[in-house]
């Protein structure tokens, strides 16, 4: 541990701390949602450590609950996680000089919040120790906080009445994630087309309607962006 590492760690932690408070309700809701579909506390803890991605967890729970074919569950998780490819590509230069165990650990811990507030600092940093501290300290804090409050939800869920439609908390959580994304018109169109598409295509065999809806949404958003750019340039 050297002083540059600690300095970077402090900077990263201070930057991420205010945002990390916002994780608490998510974590609790994820815990409650996992219990509400019938996962045991051990299974819920396992999912939380193995997957460690709130969106993928909340998004796949309803599918696990009704016994959806495994390939469709995994495909849905993959689509929900595709944004990480962008984050990973953006941050890769910051970790290119690290050895592989660190690159694996950095990948496992990569979440939206730390990426959003730290990526600028990480890419501009010149000292590798400072940079590693600035990433790993807030990321580990985020992991611990997430695990702790998911467990609060898992064990607190038992105290809530069974007939409270608690599974709706997962839908609320997904909505709260979606709303701020729709700030631009193409993104809003992608969401509307994805939702309408999934509803209209619900009759497709093998529950392919969900995947069809997602593709319709992606194409709609991309097309809207393309046309908006063309109109501006002409």
């Amino acid at each position: 541990m050297n002083s540059k590492f600690l300095e970077g760690g402090r900077e990263g932690f201070r930057t991420f701390l205010p945002l990390s408070v916002g994780l608490v309700p998510w974590a609790i809701v994820t815990g409650v949602a996992m219990r509400s579909i019938g996962l045991s506390p051990l299974e819920a803890f396992g999912m939380n450590v193995i997957v460690f991605a709130g969106t993928a967890q909340l998004g796949t729970l309803p599918l696990i609950a009704v016994g959806t074919p495994i390939w469709l569950i995994v495909l849905t998780a993959l689509v929900l996680n595709l944004r990480f490819v962008i984050f990973s590509a953006a941050l890769a230069p910051a970790f290119a000089g690290e050895r592989w165990p660190r690159r694996v650990l950095a990948s496992y811990l990569l979440v939206d919040g730390t990426f959003a507030v730290l990526s600028d600092r990480l890419l501009k940093a010149t000292d590798p120790h400072w940079r590693w501290g600035c990433y790993i300290v807030p990321s580990l804090w985020c992991w611990a906080l997430w695990q702790l409050f998911v467990m609060v939800g898992v064990f607190g869920a038992g105290a809530l009445p069974q007939d409270w439609s608690l599974e709706f908390m997962a839908t609320i959580a997904l909505l709260v994630m979606l709303v701020p994304m729709c700030a631009t018109r193409p993104m809003m169109l992608a969401a509307v087309a994805g939702g309408v598409g999934a509803v209209l295509m619900r009759g497709l065999p093998l529950k392919l309607g969900l995947i069809a809806g997602i593709f319709i949404g992606i194409i709609a958003g991309f097309a809207a962006e393309h046309w908006a750019a063309r109109r501006r340039s002409s």
Binding site: I50, L82, A89, A92, G213, I218
Partner: protein
Amino acid sequence: MSEGWWLWLTLFLIGGTTMLTRGSFIIPGERARLPPVAHRVLRYAPAAALAALIAPDLLLDDGALDPFNPKLLAGLLVIVIAWRSRNPWLPFILGMGALLAMRKLLGW
């Protein structure tokens, strides 16, 4: 629900997708770059996927279209709250409150 080892297999595969996507460029370690078109297409994946998961829950009842139901009204309320307020608890409290009020008090 999926049970036993089948459930654990599902969880490991879901976890595999998070490692695969998060590590896609960080783990190889070379300065690989994402083509700009892929970057632009991928940006729309989360919004489209979230909406595709949410819409059927809000609009369908047992597979049939039901455009006027308590979940949809509670969902619309959540959208307004999430859009207007930064408080992270409010959408959950008011959304669940509205759904329970409609179901329990109004018997809907």
